[in-house]
Amino acid sequence: MSLQVDIKKKLKGFTLDVTFEADGDCMGILGASGCGKSMTLKCIAGIEKPDSGRIVLNGKILFDSEKHINLSTQKRKVGYLFQNYALFPNMTVRENISVGLAASKENSNSRLEELAALFQLEGLENRYPWQLSGGQQQRVALARSLAYEPEVLMLDEPFSALDEYLKENLQIQVKEILNRYKGDILMVTHSREEVYRFCPKIAVVHNGHVVARGDTREIFQNPCHVTAAKLSGCKNISRIKRTGENRVYALDWNTELVTAESVGDEVRYIGIRAHDLQPVYDGTYQENLISCLHPELPEGLFEQVVLFRTAEQSDSLLWWKVGKEQWREAFVQKLPEQFYLPPEALMLLTEE
């Protein structure tokens, strides 16, 4: 199972230029809205035509601008789960799924029952899409795609149309279903939780370019690229000036910092996660200290957030997040005046 993509396409405002490979796993494409994620899927499906490049799926060339190959969508054998599921409104659940089944009549009936059981759609076969809940619609659309036995399954923001309180349960159900599917899966999303849950590998896309790709956990731990850091949920990011082998000056925080890793020439930003700040009251640390001025305390569901500035004139707000329990026990009476930024928690980030 393999998919190689290397395409260029000029779009409004930027050029999509992505290169990546998937091999048998679920691969996440993470990016902000309008960065070219969905367009990439559409190019693979043959709905849109790239200006140049090459798409190869399991050894079959789907698109090759040099060889003038551009297979029609119908011949590509790709599964596509649309953001709005795109169920045919004039057809029942049974008819919708049957569209994906090409086999003969008697064969297809048993296959249909199998799929209905697998996707927990028993009893709903004769309903129309508008009679189904969002989660049921999603399962019908998945069943229809998988009935077609595609060589790659592409999911376009699969959970964005669902209510928040349903999402987590449905994600677990869908994950079970996807585990049985043997081909490649590509999942486009802007949610870091979804990629973390579904995708062992990711590609982070920014302005039409893949800025980071590889193992999801590694990229989340050490994003390297400023966009990857933001998308992985890093709240505190500052521009820097390199001042030494292991020293930088954080321009937005007005402070000099010592880093664990040596600072390369290409490093432009430094970041630290909101959980990694350590409140200090005494003189334990001499370096990597920032002061906590004008704290604001917006309350989260399970965490307390503290937003603060490091200097009177500073525009940038820093985030500190702490569990509510801990907050009540240690900090609610006495807010920290300073934070320590552990050198090993500082992430060195590049721009291009």
Binding site: G46, Y80, G100
Partner: protein, 227 residues
Amino acid sequence: MNWAPVIISAKTACLSILITFFIGILLAHWVVRMRSEKARMLIDGILTLPMVLPPTVMGFFLLFIFGVKRPVGKFILEFFGWKIVFTWWATVIAAVVISLPLMYRSARGAFEQVDQNLIYAGRTLGKSEWWIFWRVIMPAALPGVASGGILAFARGLGEFGATAMLAGNIAGQTQTLPLAIYSEVAAGDMEGAYGYVYILVAISFLVIFLMNYFTLKGTARGKGRKK
């Protein structure tokens, strides 16, 4: 009452709506799928023109095309031996040309409303464009297409200006209902026109009823009726 105009009009309206309906749908489908924005604007303009131009001017153009001394008319006459102008066929041509923009525009609007993802979904499931058109696009666009068809039928039935120019007003041959009403009134026989007027008014009410019915059906599906 002389029934000849009723029969002529019925025949003309039925045949012309058949032609208009299918040509209108095909043209709309073609224009919606056009890739070039400029070409689409141009074709769209040409197809809409008969709706904006006064029917007499349209009839004037049609005479230019189908007149026996004009290239097209001459060709048809010499090759097939058919004379178009001032025959019953001219009433059909006039009705088709005048009612086509209504059909085309309604169908185009309905096609444009169809969720593109449905079409893409059909393609990714390996279905032919033909299948997608008849099983996905048409069912989704049907309320709009149907009301366009009814509107075009009514317009064809009431066609006067272009018909008078191209087909003339020959009793028993090209005299449709609107022309018959005009002739009766022109001859000073108001009462002779009554029957024809009643028929057209009745059909108009039926058309309005059917239009509302289809529009309602269209929105009901869009909103997703509850069980």
